[in-house]
Symmetry: C2
Subunit: 517 residues, 2 copies
């Protein structure tokens, strides 16, 4: 189901119920871009990887959140699902609301639009959001504003600053405005008088003159935004005390409602967090980072605080990309791209789990091709998860089916996020120390910037095949395939004016020392 700000309020009770009664949830996000160009390196440590992700990726926007709830029915022994596609856009709801700037990557927008993503709908009907800190600040500001209004309601229209002499070229205009206000006040035909077409300075002069010449008990002036960009002055007749009070109450009610609405998607994330359900995603590190950063709180600089934050917000996570890269799956699955994975799981030796929509029109059928709609990808991820889980069960003696989200068989896969493009550390361990595989066979090499990969493989050819991971145009990490050749490299390749070769561990140590100085 598509969720925009037009139906968001309505669906909340249903959504809340779906989340609470579900057995697990699957999520997926669509973004305006992936990275600012700073490339990941095959020998990044998980900590370095996180630092790059945080500094280079979080300025993009999550514009669609897919959420799929999965529920197990004991009687039928079947799962059903319900899918939600939230359009997400931080349209400022008032002048004091945040007006976020965000990055876009051309190729990502091109990709989304080629998949049928509707950007006009996004910008028109996207649901807003606020981080917790933003919400808190806005609530405080609103309270202050309301208090200030209560205190000033008795004081005069007049600006308390000393008055500006009216420049000659504006006197006629100002006199003219006063005549129009007098006319307006002396008959009851109109409810308000709109004074449009004056710049900020002229408006200031009008405020000042009105304060001097008119009684604030009989009339009121305020600035109002019209046609989005221009501002006009609006003159209204003063109200009786009772009417004023009633109007003020209505206004406060309205302001509170506006702010509640502005919390938008963030309230969905809070629901998910509070439910404590198992959350499934495919290659979900980026999704998790964006969800926390955009809807909850800016990502912390510290990698260990990041891990704590994730497990605090989402205590049980499972990444199907990680799962399908591990035993007993890795030898049977030649590509873990979501579409490919789904195809592989549709054949032997797997038994694809059929998950019907809980309600007609609120879900997908596997056969449908809506790839890259976030809700569909979330649905597909859930189906893959159930299929992988059941396969684990089928290997047991006696075979277990179905394998439910709380099964101990899943334990090895919980709270581990797949790491893309890193050579030898395949996941982030959210609740433990990350692996630190030995890198004695890896070297930091510097060379003339004219060199290509070919020159590096030539240089190392006496020691067998190598894996080259570029750092800059004049440096790279080079990994030996034959680890036993490492000492030989150090004995052979150290003396040269053209290039330099240093052990990975030495290089990292030296970098750390330089940074400390």
């Amino acid at each position: 189901m598509e969720v925009t700000r037009l139906n968001f309020g309505e669906i909340i009770p249903e959504l809340e119920n779906d989340i609470t009664s579900s057995h697990f949830l699957a999520i997926d996000g669509e973004f305006t871009g992936l990275h600012t160009g700073q490339d990941f390196n095959a020998f990044d440590t998980p900590q370095q990887y996180y630092a790059k992700l945080r500094s280079g990726g979080m300025d993009f926007l999550l514009v669609q959140l897919g959420l799929c709830t999965f529920r197990y029915n004991k009687d039928t022994g079947q799962f059903t699902h319900k899918a939600y596609n939230f359009y997400v856009f931080p349209r400022p709801f008032s002048r004091s609301a945040p007006d976020p700037r965000f990055l876009c990557q051309s190729s990502s927008l091109d990709f989304l639009v080629s998949q049928g993503f509707d950007f006009n709908k996004l910008f028109k009907e996207g649901i807003p959001y606020l981080t917790e800190a933003e919400e808190k600040k806005l609530r405080e500001q609103l309270e202050e504003k309301q208090k200030a209004r209560a205190n000033s309601s008795s004081s005069k229209n007049e600006d308390s600053s000393a008055s500006i002499p009216i420049p000659e070229e504006h006197t006629e205009l100002i006199e003219d405005v006063c005549v129009r206000i007098n006319d307006f006040l002396s008959n009851d035909e109109q409810d308000e008088l709109i004074l449009d077409g004056y710049n900020g300075f002229v408006r200031k002069l009008i405020y000042q003159t009105v304060g001097e010449r008119f009684d604030s008990r009989s009339m009121h002036v305020e600035t109002r935004a019209i046609d989005n960009h221009n501002r006009a002055l609006v003159v209204t007749r003063a109200l009786s005390d009772e009417d004023r009070k009633k109007k003020e109450e209505e206004r406060q009610e309205q302001e509170k409602k506006e702010l509640d609405t502005a919390v938008g998607v963030s309230s969905v994330i809070r629901m998910i967090s509070q439910s404590g359900k198992l959350i499934i995603g495919h290659n979900m590190l980026l999704d998790i980072c964006h969800i926390l950063h955009q809807f909850c709180t800016p990502l912390p600089e510290s990698y260990s605080e990041f891990k704590e934050l994730v497990t605090f917000m989402f205590p049980r996570i499972l990444d199907t990309k990680y799962m399908s890269c591990m035993d007993p799956f890795k030898d049977q699955i030649s590509s873990t791209v979501l579409g490919h994975l789904h195809k592989t799981l549709s054949g032997e030796p797997f038994e694809l789990v059929n998950v019907a929509p809980a309600v007609e029109g609120r879900g997908y059928a596997s056969a449908e091709e809506k790839a890259h709609e976030a809700g569909y990808d979330a649905y597909l991820t859930g189906v893959c998860f159930l299929t992988l889980a059941n396969y684990l069960g089928s290997l047991e003696e006696p075979a277990k089916k179905p394998v439910l989200p709380n099964s101990p068989l899943l334990r090895p896969y919980i709270n581990r996020l797949h790491l893309m493009r890193v050579q030898d550390v395949t996941f982030i361990d959210l609740t433990g120390e990350d692996a630190e595989p030995p890198r004695d066979h890896v070297f930091h090499v510097t060379f003339p910037k004219e060199w290509k990969t070919y020159d590096l493989t030539q240089l190392f050819s006496p020691f067998g095949s190598v894996y080259v991971s570029w750092l800059t145009e004049a440096s790279a990490y080079v990994g030996l395939h034959r680890r036993d050749q490492a000492q030989l490299v150090l004995n052979t390749l150290t003396q040269s004016d053209t290039y330099s070769v240093e052990r990975y561990t030495e290089h990292v140590k030296r970098i750390k020392q330089t940074q400390r100085q």
Copy 2:
């Protein structure tokens, strides 16, 4: 007329002719945002203003370029116009093309979409562009690539690096692929064999094995992008020398065409520049900056180089916002917002010039309300310009009409760009030194961050009214309305633990010294 990449190629000859035969051009741009939040200050110097514009505004994208050509017909004594709306989007056209990242401001997107701007069309059909440096680099790269292809066409498929041993879990898959290739080569049923669903590592293994086992004279493997994000290997039968040559020629032709197309909107800007025509805009500093930065060359850091760049590219510019703020117009025009200006110029003492479309369907009628479509705003700007110009002529003895773009009456307004929000310098003088009005009456004030404007006006109340221009939450520039009070301020307000007051000129001098150290 709407111009997208679907009709861009077609309209170029017509556009070229329209520009060459025009008497002047009007332009306008729509952007994904305005500024990153760093605010302009009422006492910025033009140089400071430019520095802020450059660092805080150029990461946004110009997404629509409005161009309106105006032509004077001597026989009828009338102007006609033709309007173009270019949708602009840097969709990468190949893997080596730039994939720009750009900023968006939520409120700006909200504004554009509320005006009916079609973002789906933008991202799908927007016309690309290249700066001169980007184009040059891509042409060189293409040449190199083509040369490399020519040299390698005779060599083997095999990768020259030492081979990677095939991991056990992949041997079955690789053998299977070899069987499929053999089958494909041994009968003529298919033109190509697509090997889809393998990750980068497996693809590398396949390349390597193919190189070892198959004769490159009989078959060819290449990587091709499918469904936008995934890559597949494509196997084809080798061609005869003649066929290969023909195919290579076609490919080179295609690559050159692709690159020419990629220059897109930049070629329009070059046409405009080369035409040397008078270019009109309304509040056009931002438009000029974006046009140069996006389509020609990144804005220079130096302010004087910026001025040189503008006059080099566009030797004659006229800003109708600047013009209407100056004598003899300023007393008669209370708001210079484009819509307001047009309305004011529609009444006495002005005589709005009627400019019909040169061709039915290629322009606007004044009555139409298409505000904030770039082409319409350009059209309106041109109409306002002609009306202002004719008004100048009507003041002459004897009255002159029409006033054409080369009239000496326009000289005082040429090459001066309106400066928004600066108190006392109203324009950038592109061909001279900017004004440096005395600021003896302005003070730099620091104070506790709890202070509001009210506290500042209170502090200065003995010296009359003041203009407060905030710098940070604890500092501001304060300008006296009564300049003669400046010395009194210095005598009275210098001794305090709570605040400090310093002459503007002293403050600026001190800042410069600190920066130099």
